[in-house]
């Protein structure tokens, strides 16, 4: 990525600037670290009375969201505007996509309009990669593709965790629930494993991402393990992330019953007491209270939700800054 890791985090690295951000599977620990540091600096801009700096003046950022989203899209829009980029939002409804224009033609049109960067959310896994291959002068940022990846959400999760823990190195992070269909969980697994955290995936065996663990991935994710028993998984955890259970999964035969899921994999107060004192509880939202998370915890235990929103904007500012400034070569 554009991140040339600063000298103090990774001496002597000379990485070619990254043009696109599609997933975290090709990020180094140094790159993630540098990006989170930059996001910390961006948080200060968010706290000012004049929340705008001129860094991306004259740059055009287009958000192309072909799947519903409020938080992510607004977060990107706000991040771009605070850096003085011109941000144009395009949704599925009301655009030519509704008339049947292909994704490629839409993107080529946007490129011809001199867009510097396209933020894309798409229901199909891999769509941002297709764009990145076909666009020559426009950067692509994946804001969620199917069940594949959501790198900026994972980065902001990492930022929140790092703020609470001080460092991700050696932290134990438990991800509970439907990991198989969760792009957030997948990108988190890559980012956390790369940053030196140990990741425990917990949930019904039908919902474990076997592709992450086998199929040649194992060597690149040495710190990821599976533990189906939640009580065992949560023991001594620094962070517990519980995922939204989509009701259609039961209809698809992946779950015997909602009641059984709740009994075995709901994060509740008794289970959180097995984690380290003061452990961080996270949920990518929207929550099914009483299913993957006990109502009492949903209301009291996720104090970082507002902080997550702030971190999300700061992180996306750092990312846009890195992708849209700087030259190709090092001095």
């Amino acid at each position: 990525m554009t991140t040339r890791a600063p000298a103090e985090t990774a001496p002597g690295t000379s990485v070619a600037p990254r043009r696109h951000v599609l997933d975290l599977d090709d990020f180094s620990a140094g790159e993630i670290h540098a990006l989170l540091d930059s996001a910390e600096a961006m948080r200060e801009v968010l706290g000012r009375s004049i929340k705008k700096v001129p860094s991306l003046r004259g740059k055009v950022v287009i958000t192309l969201f072909l799947e519903p989203s409020t938080r992510t899209r607004v977060s990107f829009e706000q991040a771009g505007k605070m850096l003085s980029a011109d941000v144009i939002n395009i949704g599925g409804a009301g655009s030519a996509a509704e008339k049947g224009e292909s994704l490629l033609n839409t993107a080529l049109t946007l490129q011809a309009m001199h867009a510097d960067l396209i933020v894309i959310r798409h229901p199909h896994s891999g769509a941002p990669y297709f764009l990145a291959r076909n666009l020559t002068s426009t950067a692509v940022v994946n804001a969620g593709d199917g069940m594949h990846a959501h790198p900026t959400q994972a980065l902001l999760d990492l930022m929140t965790m790092r703020r609470h823990l001080g460092s991700l190195e050696g932290a134990k992070v438990v991800i509970v629930g439907d990991v198989l269909h969760s792009r957030v969980a997948r990108s988190n697994a890559f980012g956390l494993a790369t940053s030196g955290a140990s990741v425990v995936l917990c949930g019904p065996p039908t919902m474990m991402p076997l592709d992450l663990l086998h199929a040649g991935r194992t060597p690149s994710l040495p710190n990821v393990t599976v533990e189906p028993d939640l009580d065992a998984a949560i023991e001594g955890a620094d962070v517990v992330m519980t995922l939204r259970l989509q009701s259609e999964r039961q209809e698809a035969g992946m779950l015997p019953s909602l009641r059984e899921y709740t009994r075995r994999w709901q994060v509740n107060e008794a289970r959180m007491s097995l984690a380290k004192p003061g452990a961080l509880l996270m949920h990518p939202g929207p929550m099914n209270e009483g299913v993957e998370i006990a109502s009492s915890l949903a209301h009291g235990g996720l104090a970082q939700i507002e902080e997550q929103v702030t971190n999300g904007v700061a992180l996306r500012m750092a990312l846009l800054y890195q992708l849209l400034t700087g030259t190709e070569e090092r001095p």
Binding site: E44, K52, P54, A318, T327, E329, P331
Partner: protein, 188 residues
Amino acid sequence: MPTERLLMTGEDMRRVISRIAHEIVERNRGADGLVLVGLQRRGVPLAKWLASAIAAFEDVEVPVGALDTNLYRDDLTSRPQPTVRATTLPVDVDDKVVVLVDDVLYTGRTARAALNALMDLGRPTQVQLAVMVDRGHRELPIRADYVGKNVPTAAGEQVRVRVDDFDSVNEVVLVQDDLVAGEREVPS
């Protein structure tokens, strides 16, 4: 091979800090209403150094802030990307006299960016500039109010101010690359 020539020792720097501290207090008739703002990175420890010098003879704790100018640079797309560091101002700068502190004054572009950054954060009554070294070659109509040392340089040379916090030593050196020394080139 680049060669280094020592311009100032740590002792020289200490005397300069002491002199500039007195100049700042003299010119502003005291230290009340002053804020020292160091430019990231090496301006920050210099600003702290000035503040402790002022505290030693004037018995006033002057607040010290840090300002990162990178988001305001005019060359963000024409050179490798700088790392954005923290901006922290301990007090509101409205109606204060702000002394910007940096290690080297060269083209003036960093000072220009710092002025814009500062104006987005408040409205100081006055802004002054203190630098350890002025090496000339200005590209903008900017001058320093307090200068530690004027050093005539060629564009191919570099002035490095080393401070204890980052470099484990206090000194100022002139770095000459044998191949480019004396040649006029566009400063980056």
